[in-house]
Symmetry: C2
Subunit: 759 residues, 2 copies
């Protein structure tokens, strides 16, 4: 765990430059706007260790899969988030030397992310090897007002000299992917263009043929006046730039404004993409930095109005929650149903693929609670569009008759993962699509989603479960063999309780959806039956039978459900009794040792109780929590939030607070020692849930919003906002008191601490 | 299955050239001599599809491991059998054209492996693109009389022309490995030398720094007289040759003799290796082809005298068994305790590493029965020498106090495999080392092996098991969780019966060895106790407890042992009811489907009953065989032989014969569609066991040889020889009659059909 960042309500601040933290900071200070983003790489040359990363949403490359030992059913290709052409470079050379923080003496270094405004600031004084000293101040943003533009304000002031300087302003498509399997470069050049004042590169991905045009313009001012300088425009393969020679005067500030337009063929015809980029570039250059920045800040201001959470009395916690919300909001805006929430967002490229079940299980509740329902709906439609691929995916593994098995990781609907114990066996994820539908309908009341798209997806998934179970003559019940539950520290187990529960529930939920569609849209139902060759009688008969006779492992003595068959054969010890040098287990223990141990990455019995809370008594939840939580090591970033929510429900307030801290500052404090690869974007939604569903006790039951808040001892008060049925509510919790304000929209009845309240 | 080879008692014959079979034939017609060998690549240029492979025993390269997803405990490097410098080339150019069977019209093609002599023959008539026709006859061998030499006799006769021809005779170290993980070349050049009459290349492996000097000389005769021709010696990186220009006369035979010496730094100092290669080369060139061939043939003659198996009335079966014995004997001669029996021998490079538990479980009985006990002993010593690495391997996975975990695949004692379900979990292999000791001692009576090396290995292995089990409070017994048994179609199961049985047996066997060493060599025992910090009291107390309270899954109703916990939850169906298009499952089904099915790659319950036959009643064996055999798909090449042996014991003669056929012609008929990668060398020992232990009913009990033969209906008679306690016995089985002849050595009492017989 690292504590080099200063707590602050709205800012993330790094003071002093430590090259060892640079990759971590590059992740944490990342910027994005839903359409594009980049790690907090420096504009000027940096010859030290760094992970350069620029990303454009929806642009991927199917890299040839790399495995040691092939298993039938593995995908041939593994779609990767692509490192995209880079537009941030501002290379400054004074005399023989470049401004390069790896080769200069650096003082007064400060990197600041203003989360309220969405702007990244940096300032430092650099002494070049020849003694020349400059003061630099930078600002950068990816505009939330227009997802295709970004801008930089780069100010440089000579302290102890006057000299000519050359300023190189590139766009560069000659980039590599850190995790390329065969060291291949994934971009081909389409064209480049460079002339005084503008440079652009259009590059195309291999195989997938996405094109991205990256264009830049700039203006330079010295002492507030535009300077032209001597301009040399040059280009080479996948690269174009302008180099401007100007005079720097001692004590006089020169400001470089760099503007970028990044257009993708996903949104523009390939024929017109360069023209449109130039047009856009012209517009924004004319508009100028300040105006663009204000438009951008104004969007953030609107976002915060809807989704801010305040915490009084604990600035680390305040910073943590805002950072989580900020990252989520700049990763996914919900405008485009082709996009999703990558586990690293725009902060890194690890993991490949963009979409995990994280989206449905963790992110959806966040977007439901903070944005227009359209956003959550787009997430559902995204999966609907992937249904044919999910059916194909199931067929590859031997399933038939339209069974749908959603991939564990995907970009375009195809599976991108190849560990057999996950790819083939972590099957619960396919029901996350069903659960997300339930969540969405509970929250919005929009049952018509079933009619429009939902039922078709559900029937595919239900068919998968009906084929995936088998009848055990020995148990006289249905069993589900060979699975991996959400607790990935167990592989290829039989009768994972979470999976069995979710499978049976999905069958019942699908039948509920059938009833709704049949009664409300009989024509639509009829055409769906024909399209899917759905035999309602025989299929639902079987589903009823499976759901009624599903086997659920349990221990009667302890009164707990068993994570899987055979769990009680393990030596049951507590995580607190592990030696510190053995943690985290996933870095210190061999895989077989982890598998044989009782330790849990994320407790899936508890996960299920969180999802289906109303199916269990408080006593049941308590007994299972008391049994599993002590064995849980929370080495999944998705784990603590669920524990925080259940602990809150059980009145384990200290535990809830401990779990909250663990999730909210995971990246800021580099808790898992892996933030250098990027931030844990999807688990950030869990942080929001910890506060709102955990401390706030927020639930939606039968379309009614319920709250039962408590406040951690460490806090004086906290507040959160909720978007709910066209209203914005503000919930303010202080010691012994909860206020719920209706900030916009029609009056509403809610349940506060089990009492109906009218707002 | 392919049937393009002609059945013949002593020959493997391919008639007619079919390029589609070429890679398979390259495997089947491979040559070796325990020290080196090569696939049956053509001497002349062949531009068609081919897998070039030359191998030198003990020469490996630790290629960087390739995995999709890393698991803690995986090896960083994966030792590969290396494709070594190639010496067989005889490139012939006549006018503008090369002799190249891919570019010539080929008639009368015949490839013959004479297993009696160990010589590979080839003959064909080739018509060059310009109409010139040549008749070619070749012979080649790797000398069994001197493991460092090989020779070729290459005869060429122009049919319809006279012309100048250039003959290029290279040695070439610029070779690649088919399965290199990162397309790297593994050899660096040390030196080359080429002058008239000789060419040599010394190459060194990267990282491991093995050197191999490959040297060639030659002589050319036309019409029986030596021709010098015009010689040009040339060399380039990793390559040296002589090119000889001679006149070919219509109707006159020209014979090229090419001699090779292949010396490795494993057997020669690097300083002298070139000189010694030259010296050897000079000697063999002087000796000449015929003499060298006769010396080679004479060694084979001696081998066949000890280990031949004859089968009357079934030439396919006869050819099959001889082919299996031939391949085994040319793969491993037992002279060098640093070497072992690679799964592909000198016939291919697939799988990497050289040593599997196949050696102990399958090959050891073969070498015990057919060669001097020294050979089997060397196989044990090989593992003794790897003990420190086995301890290190265990330590890496979290075991302590000198626990020894032998790798699943190895070259130098280090693990070379990286599938977690195998590498970490197929733990039964570590006890194969103990079982091999039992086999060796039973057969030879040499209990002193325990004192010399054996006990030290056993204590290491016993310690592993003592740490690997855990006490199940739930079962009130010891359990072994998270394993893969020999049936690799089940992964990460709990309480695999085979594994539990072998683990407990190992503990008892170790205590037996302790008693022997303590009583017979108390001093040696004392020093071993000190060396290993062995606490006899506490450790053996624990071992006794584990062995006494081990849990063995079983089904009381059926009276069978259960392959693992939960096996009865599966749908139990029979392999015969599978659709033909679903076989083999490992090519047609996804991995998860295989895992969830009841189908068995090799039945490990039966494997255990085969190993510990005397621990079970005939009825127990029968019930388990009848239960498991129908679910077994035999997709491991190691499976059928065990079934053949048990079926023989149970009097299921037809089944035994069916299983025998499946193992004996596995490669000749390319049964598993993978012989192009190389032959299944280790499973060939299983074929021998099918005959000797299966049909012959051979066992050794308390040092006494027992036989209870039956003869398959399809055969008229069969015979096998056995090396047993300094004697050679010949067993001849015909309908209704068994003769046992003592071919050499002192008189001996054996048990024949349960009666004591004196020979």
């Amino acid at each position: 765990m690292k504590h080099y960042l200063k707590p602050h309500e709205w800012l993330i601040v790094e003071e002093g430059f430590d090259a060892h933290h640079h990759r971590i900071s590059e992740s944490i200070f990342s910027l994005g706007n839903g359409r594009m983003g980049q790690r907090a790489n420096f504009e000027e040359t940096y010859s030290g260790d760094s992970h350069q990363g620029t990303y454009v949403a929806g642009i991927y490359y199917p890299d040839k899969t790399r495995v040691g030992w092939w298993k039938n059913g593995y995908p041939e290709y593994f779609a990767k988030v692509l490192n995209a052409p880079d537009w941030i470079g501002i290379k400054i050379k004074i005399g023989k030397h470049e401004v390069d923080l790896n080769r200069c003496k650096v003082t007064g270094f400060k990197r600041t992310l203003d989360m309220k405004k969405g702007i990244l600031y940096r300032s430092f004084t650099a002494t070049l090897p020849d003694g020349k000293k400059v003061v630099v101040n930078t600002q950068r943003f990816c505009s939330m007002a227009d997802g295709e533009i970004g801008a930089i304000r780069y100010s440089i002031t000579p302290v102890n000299f006057s000299a000519q300087a050359t300023i190189t302003l590139p766009v560069n498509a000659d980039v590599v992917n850190k995790d390329s399997n065969y060291d291949e470069k994934f971009w081909n050049e389409v064209s480049q263009e460079a002339k005084a004042g503008i440079a652009l590169v259009t590059a195309e991905t291999k195989k997938t043929f996405f094109q991205v045009t990256t264009a830049m313009s700039y203006s330079i001012e010295t002492a507030g006046k535009t300077v032209k300088g001597k301009v040399k425009a040059s280009k080479k393969e996948k690269y174009a730039d302008n180099t401007v020679t100007i005079g720097l005067k001692k004590g006089v500030e020169t400001v470089i404004y760099k503007y970028a337009a990044v257009l993708s063929s996903e949104n523009h015809s390939k024929k017109k993409i360069q023209d449109q980029a130039k047009k856009k570039l012209k517009n924004i250059t004319t508009k100028g930095y300040e105006k663009l920045a204000n438009e951008h800040i104004s969007v953030w201001s609107d976002i915060w109005k809807k989704c801010d959470i305040t915490i009084e009395g604990d600035s680390a916690a305040q910073q943590g929650i805002r950072f989580n919300i900020f990252q989520l909001m700049q990763t996914y805006t919900g405008d485009d149903e082709r996009l999703n929430i990558g586990p690293k967002g725009f902060t890194g490229e690890k993991y490949g693929g963009s979409t995990y079940w994280d989206t449905e299980a963790y992110c959806l509740p966040f977007y439901l609670g903070t944005t227009n329902p359209r956003v959550a709906r787009n997430l559902l439609v995204y999966r609907y569009k992937h249904l044919p691929k999910a059916i194909e995916n199931a067929r590859k593994l031997g399933f038939k008759d339209g069974a749908a098995f959603y991939p564990f990781v995907t970009m375009n609907g195809e599976e991108c993962h190849n560990e057999w114990e996950i790819t083939f066996e972590e099957i619960h994820r396919t029901s996350a699509m069903a659960y997300a539908m339930r969540d969405y309908i509970d929250y919005t009341g929009d049952k018509n989603y079933w009619t429009e798209h939902g039922l078709e997806v559900l029937i595919g998934i239900a068919r998968f479960w009906a084929q995936r179970v088998n009848w055990s003559k020995d148990k006289n019940q249905y069993v589900i063999l060979g699975v991996t539950g959400p607790n990935e520290y167990e592989n290829n187990v039989n009768n994972n309780w979470y999976t069995n529960y979710l499978g049976a529930w999905t069958l019942r939920f699908t039948m509920q959806a059938i009833d709704f569609v049949k009664n409300n849209s009989p024509e639509k139902y009829k055409s769906l039956v024909a399209k899917l060759r759905f035999n309602e009688n025989t299929e639902t008969e079987q589903w009823k039978d499976i759901s009624a006779k599903m086997y659920y492992p349990q221990d009667q003595t302890r009164g707990v459900y068993l994570q899987q068959d055979g769990f009680l054969d393990k030596e049951l010890i507590h995580a607190k009794d592990l030696k510190p040098e053995d943690r985290p287990l996933n870095q210190k223990w061999s895989w077989d040792r982890i598998l044989r141990s009782c330790f849990i990455k994320q407790a899936d019995v508890l996960q299920c109780m969180y999802l289906f809370e109303d199916d269990f008594t408080l006593d049941q939840i308590k007994r299972n929590f008391d049994f599993y939580e002590p064995m849980t090591v929370h080495e999944s970033s998705l784990s603590p939030c669920v524990h925080a929510i259940l602990a809150s429900k059980l009145g384990y307030n200290e535990k809830a607070y401990e779990m909250y801290l663990r999730t909210s500052r995971l990246d800021l404090d580099d808790y898992n020692n892996d933030t250098e690869d990027g931030c844990h974007i999807t688990s950030m939604a869990g942080t929001w849930m910890s506060v709102v569903k955990g401390f706030g006790g927020m639930r939606v039951r039968d379309g009614v919003l319920q709250l039962s808040p408590f406040i951690p001892d460490q806090w004086q008060s906290y507040s959160f906002r909720l978007e709910f049925k066209n209203r914005v509510l503000k919930v303010i919790v202080s010691k012994g008191k909860t206020d719920v304000l209706l900030e916009s929209g029609e009056p509403l009845e809610i349940v506060l601490n089990e009492k109906v309240v009218k707002l």
